[in-house]
Amino acid sequence: TTRTPEFLGLDLPAELVPESSTIADVVIGVLDTGVWPERNSFDDNGLGPVPAFWKGECVAAKDFDPTKACNRKLIGARFFSKGYESSMGPIDESHESRSPRDADGHGTHTSTTAAGSAVTNASLLGYAEGTARGMALRARISVYKVCWAGGCFSSDILAAMDAAVNDGCHVLSLSLGGGAADYYRDSVAIGAFNAMEKGVLVSCSAGNAGPGTATLSNLAPWITTVGAGTLDRDFPAYVVLGNGKNYTGVSLYSGKLLPSTPIALVYAGNATNSSNGNLCMPGTLLPEKVAGKVVLCERGINARVQKGMVVKDAGGAGMILANTATNSEELVADAHLLPATLIGEKAGNAVKAYSISDPNPTATIIFGGTKVGVSPSPVVAAFSSRGPNSVTPEILKPDLIAPGVNILAGWTGAVGPTGLPTDSRRVEFNIISGTSMSCPHVSGLAALLKEEHPDWSPAAIKSALMTTAYVKYQNGDGILDVATGQEATPFDLGAGHVDPRKAMDPGLVYDLTAQDYLEFLCALNYTSLQIAAMSKDRNFSCDSRKNYAVSKLNYPSFSVAFATAIASADESASATVTHERTVTNVGSSATYKATATAKVDGGEVKIAVEPAVLSFTETGEKKSYIVKFTAPSLPSGSSGLGRLEWSDGKHTVASAIAFTWT
């Protein structure tokens, strides 16, 4: 967050000074591993009194004095552990405390990303230096500790969501997820549904199970599901081989450097008696073969920073960590405890070939510090989970992407930047990666929109974020996916990369109410019991005479599923799928015209928008349209992409379109 505000166009000087003004007071509830409240990111200087509507609390514990921990920035801190302790046994208080205090770092990182105060001269060991700040500087933070050393449990999460909504939070940020489940079985989906009905936007991480298809979590349409992209910042660390070849990796190492001239290099797979010794798992390296050398390890199974520790413990002088096909060319920086760098798969293969074939291979690592202005950026992170939506393929997920790679934000005082027990360093800020990091960016941006437009519903805020997201770089090329090196598809980045300045004034929004989502559940053929369990037993039942359809849900994007013709005689047949949408004018009077494009290998999809022109004379006016997608029969598994844009010349209200053939 020393870079993301600028990267997102939020680097306005006025934004740096919180002021009490007519702007609405917004509270972000962060459900995570707790908080380290002494961090400067929770300084409340310049903020007005705690809002009168706030009903939350700052609980007392032996290591958590509420009179010191909470203030006008951190206005709530609670913990929920009954479900966890029921399943996992009593909390080990020698490692973590039964209190809101963050023993992990993750919760402090996400909460300060969402709404941390500005802290000048922030850095991690000199890397990423600048002013660190959350996305919503004026927003208040309330933390709900639901995740513990052994994980997080749905009974605790639901209790925390219950408390957070009752306390008065406007936005909930959940950088966690479970498996993909029907919505009536998913506690986060259930909690989010009822939070949404009370006007609370719920932002969740998409998951880090990419780049495989259908790997997303948090799939309900009333949740804002956030994937991850890179920033234009990098931390290069160069591998110099004895054969004169150089490769660029990344690292956050800070400490005693390797000699500038290459020293002995060994491939971990040749310095072990273990069949998976190449992974540098604990206890697998032979000290006599790695002592004083640079060790080439391969990524996978155990933590990247642990591999460095394994090399160090075996007497290695440095580590080159190489990606495999799983992570391809994605480079995630770590604050290793020995000189180390992560390189991509291609470079890894080259270094491996050299280390195996050369009789006396040598290497060194040169650290390049922090570089900004990296192009292209953003690119979709390989780890970011991908669509299609495995529960409801007709709803496109993820909804959008935001910065989630190498993000600097606040950190716990309980563990070092690697999180390893042997890491005795303590830092105020840490740099980590994940959709956990992109989610609170969007939570903070949603809070900014809520401040500016307090009357907007969660769906309207989500729509504004999605329809103004961008999918192309300034040169017109599409945003790339680091996993493939090709242009990303809507299954990778949803509506695109968030653009908060445009989201402030989207022109039109696709609004939705709880009633709309209930009709969506009817379209899924949920039973009345399932719907009642989801919606707090409201007086609602599906009308058997009504024609419910997922394609009628007023979603800001389109996922169009075509059935593949089974009989060969039908191969030339085409099918038409119709979607219905209603847009609400949130600007002044204007006339919008529709344009639609589609790109499908092996066939042409025709898109007809009726009407293709919509005129609005006043704010709040609603207009409906239908879109007919006509496509040939293609083999099952085929897919394509498209885009529908409504423009009045000033605003562009864009919807991503994904096509699938099943």
Binding site: D32, T33, F80, K82, G83, S86, S87, H106, C147, G151, C152, F153, S154, S155, I157, L158, A159, M161, D162, A163, V165, N166, S175, L176, G177, G178, G179, Y184, R185, S187, V188, I190, G191, A192, F193, N194, A195, K198, S205, A206, G207, N208, S217, G434, T435, S436, C439, L529, Q530, A532, A533, K536, D537, N539
Partner: protein, 82 residues
């Protein structure tokens, strides 16, 4: 039974609360006690869900699922940080 118990989330039809109860939490507790004297109540939910979570044996969970006013009984499930 205590060793067998695991946590479950029980979603209740609050509108079906018998009139003899004035507080839904009392009704939840009575529903739980009707199948077990010793089952521990973990939380009651009222804002983003109606119901409670409790430690139950699989058999108790099955019985509770058929209890009047119970909409669903879901096992407590793990979630993970991303």
């Amino acid at each position: 039974a205590a060793a067998e118990r695991a946590s479950y989330i029980v979603h209740m039809a609050k509108t079906q609360m018998p009139p003899r109860f004035t507080e839904h939490s009392h009704w939840y507790d009575a529903s739980l006690r009707s199948i077990s004297d010793s089952a521990d109540l973990l939380y009651t939910y009222d804002t983003v869900a109606h119901g409670f979570s409790a430690l139950l044996t699989p058999a108790e969970a099955r019985i509770l699922a058929r209890h009047p006013g119970v909409l669903s009984v879901l096992p407590d499930t793990p979630y993970y940080l991303h």
